[in-house]
Amino acid sequence: MIQLNEIRKTYLLGKTEVPALKGINLRIEKGEFVCVMGPSGSGKSTLLNIIGGLDQPDSGEVVIAGQTINRLNRNQLADFRAQQIGFIFQSFNLIPVLNVYENIELPLLIKKEPISEKEKHARITQLIEEVGLQAAVNHRPDELSGGQRQRVAIARALVTRPQIVLADEPTANLDSATAHAILALMRRLNEEEQVTFIFSTHDQSVTKYATNLYHLKDGRLVD
């Protein structure tokens, strides 16, 4: 379902070339719960950004659901992300002026999902229940704890019913107990919704939730 062929990416830091990915080949099937593990600077975020169409590889091919996404233009990539991808960020990236309900609703507004208001409401309410935020529906992000914010981000990532959810170090800003609770939640939603989850981490303790684990070191996948 997700096929990466010889993906290479180099960044320029001033005049210095910094290779981030050095020929990544990877295949991920639908419904997997994949963990990409590696130290800081190993290329985890770059890999997730390329899969999510936020960044372009210098060479290689990214094929998702039969579509080679690194050939798409900016608007097509935006459509691709809106339709197929859900993002969960390390620092949550919630919109500060919107409450929990509205933050979850935002991707539907951006996607212009052609569903009725009733259906939208039902979908958002169900997700709020699933992530356990019924009591905080009208709260704004600054009124929530880190764990609650990440729950909102998870619900926001799932509201458009994407094929893939990409989570870049979703537990890095959370305490250990909350981190495990968030991973357990993601895993449950992965099983229930049959959505492919790919998350990155450098925390060994959370890798137990993954169905497949990949190690990334210096831009290469290692055994």
Binding site: S45, N49, G52, L54, D55, R74, N75, A78, D79, F80, R81, A82, Q83, I85, F87, F89, Q90, S91, N93, I95, P96, V97, L98, E102, E105, L106, P107, L109, I110, K111, K112, P114, I115, S116, E117, R156, T160
Partner: protein
Amino acid sequence: MAPVRKEIVKTLKLAVRNIGRHPVKNMLVGLVILLAANVFLLTGSLAENARQNWRAFLAATFVGNGNLTAYQGKEKDFSLPALTLPAPLLSPPIYAKLEELGVYYTKRLKIGAIVYNEEKGELAGTPVTLVGVDWPVEEKHLNNLQLVAGEVRPDLAAGVLVWEELATYYQWRVGEELTLFVKDIDGNTLPFTFIITGVLKNKTGEALAGTGSFPLFPFVFASYEYLGLLLGLEEDAATDLAIWGGPPAAETALKRLARRHGLQFFHGEQGFEVIWGIIEFIYFIGVFLELFILVVLIVTSFNLNLIGFAERRKEIGTMYALGAKPRWIAGLLLAELVIFAVTAFGCSLLVYFLLSLVTSHGLTLGSGLGLAFAGAKIHLQLVPATAGVAFLAIVGTMLVSSSYPVYLTTKINPVAVFKEAER
């Protein structure tokens, strides 16, 4: 509500929430919008006050509510009279059309005349405007005039009323003969002798007389019928028609009629070049101030939006990651600007309204500015056309000045923004 409409409402709601997060920026830009709107409204009101005050003053003094003339170009100017009769003159077919329109008018003959100085036995330099009027009919409209000496003598064909300013200048007295050289219909300059029966002046605006080296109202009023005979004109011929009233749509119809027949329709303030010049100068000063304040608005809005949008780079990057297209982001930001500009303009209107209430008794800008406003008080008023122009100029300026900051947000690379945020 249709889903698309609901989405627009939700996007606008998000825009409104975003506006509320920059109170300092809003206060600064709002203050400049308040200034800009009030500069537009005030200068527009001053120009309108000048125009209306002069129109009202001149309507009751001499010109009429409007004037249809056979003279062309600057020769319509009452203070710089033409020394030759226009051709063709106004004639019955035009009067018939005015009657069809339901317009109430009176006929006049107007021509420049050179004064003959009896004592020196030579022509005086400054020409006067000799105006033939049916005095008993027009007298009731000209309620800003008063006789300061003598009387109106309709029974005396050669009797004339002279303006006090002229009488003082030429030392004319009631009962004296007055010889004026005038070109008749055939172009012959002939001396006509009149008898001064009265001296006139304005009841209000007296201070306006003698403000320049030329008299503002260099009028000698003669009998319409008698002047027509002297000039050799046909019985019903006229150079001007003073318009006193008619249905609301009459003015537009009159302007159209004037265009079709090579005539000129004008109001009092347009019939005196010096007055029209003052009004135009007020407009010019207004436009200058308006452009200046718009430049201030451009600079303020550009800088503050550049900073404001830069502060929201991570959030905008997140929206791109969620699938937003550049035009959606640009639309959201422009909606914020338009909503803010419209709200600030609404508040500015309110402030202006309060200002006009506080000054409802009228303002006097000192005796030196009496000439600009016909000696009357200034009343702040909302001129719809000025308010419309101000609204479009302010909203347009906000959009133009913000177009580059908005454009920059469409170039945001989410990956770079997230990396910046991590650092």
